[in-house]
Symmetry: C2
């Protein structure tokens, strides 16, 4: 059974995919892109490494403008990222006729996050399943699972090469001359998966 | 790494254990018992079947009296079962020096359930991890996973042979001549795992 996994190449969506793969699902990693900068290539590398199929979900540049407008208007990224996450799920359903959609949202995540009623509303309207395998796991459990399975690179948001929602939003805001540090924290550590530890596959594999 | 799993022998706690086992944990299934009636034997059968270690967490009969008092006072089982779940987690931590405690709570469960702040409070006070692997899964996803891995027997609460919190509470309330249908629904369907489908082990195995 196919699961369409919203995928950034970071450790959370990578681990969500790993859990679902172990449960017998076929993982199709979907990376959201507005076509402004090809950040998706980092997600694709990780998807290849983990043995997930990979697709780019190209979203409208007008939506990106609207997302940035919302960030500036609300002064925060939370509402905009939640909206984008919800729209991404709906786009995956409509475009690929997806029946099962997964994400890497954790128990302690504030953003992006959907309420149980928002999730159920999407499930009922489209007759689909939404699965968040990390939703019952705290940061300690996640840290130990990530260490068990992945080799991870950590760095600050500006330098890390990964392709989450924020990457392209920040990039485009900078292009437009907006001071992104009014909205995004300056020293926010991010991470991405750069290798798989050997217990998950035949041998350890790296890429940089 | 050992995970102490609060375990009834039903499909939810069985599946929670299966997911954690696939992630490399050693499962110690813990069944709560007040020593009134040996319902634990049903949980033990399922634990044996699934390859989980098994322990009985014997709880004080005074606690059972208090639980029943709470049910009668509040007119509902929800508050009492939440209290019992929380106390069970704390007892597992104290008695077995457990570092990781898991349960089979689902996304759509109302009872038993702990709020995120209650969970974090226990995690911080005792320096432990609490893991709910089914917390991000809806009923459709659970149904398809249960069907993929388990052979399940379904029946009404009164007839099913399993060992969740309710079994002994209902039994003891009946012994005391209390009309349990003032508090528990009469036609509530329950289920327990009676076999494993062959993809999870060498062959399919049954017990009745």
């Amino acid at each position: 059974m196919n699961v369409f996994l919203l995928f950034s190449g970071g450790k959370d969506s990578s681990l969500a995919g790993l859990i679902l793969k172990k449960l017998g699902y076929n993982i199709i990693a979907v990376n959201v892109s507005f076509g402004v900068y090809p950040f998706y290539k980092y997600a694709k590398h990780v998807a290849d490494l983990l043995g997930y199929e990979f697709m780019i979900l190209e979203m409208n540049k007008e939506l990106l403008e609207k997302i940035i407008e919302t960030i500036i208007k609300t002064g925060k990224v939370s509402k905009a990222l939640n909206l984008l996450h919800k729209l991404s799920i709906e786009e995956v359903i409509k475009r690929y006729d997806a029946k099962i959609i997964a994400d890497g949202i954790r128990r302690d995540d504030k953003v992006p996050n959907l309420s149980i009623s928002e999730i159920r509303s999407i499930e009922d309207r489209y007759n689909v399943e939404i699965v968040s395998p990390l939703k019952g796991l705290g940061y300690k459990t996640l840290r130990s699972l990530v260490n068990r399975y992945f080799i991870v690179e950590e760095d600050y948001s500006d330098r890390i090469k990964k392709s989450d929602y924020e990457a392209e939003i920040r990039y485009y805001m900078k292009l437009k001359g907006i001071d992104i540090y009014r909205y995004f924290p300056r020293n926010h550590k991010q991470s991405r998966v750069v290798g798989l530890k050997n217990q998950s596959r035949g041998g350890s594999s790296f890429f940089r």
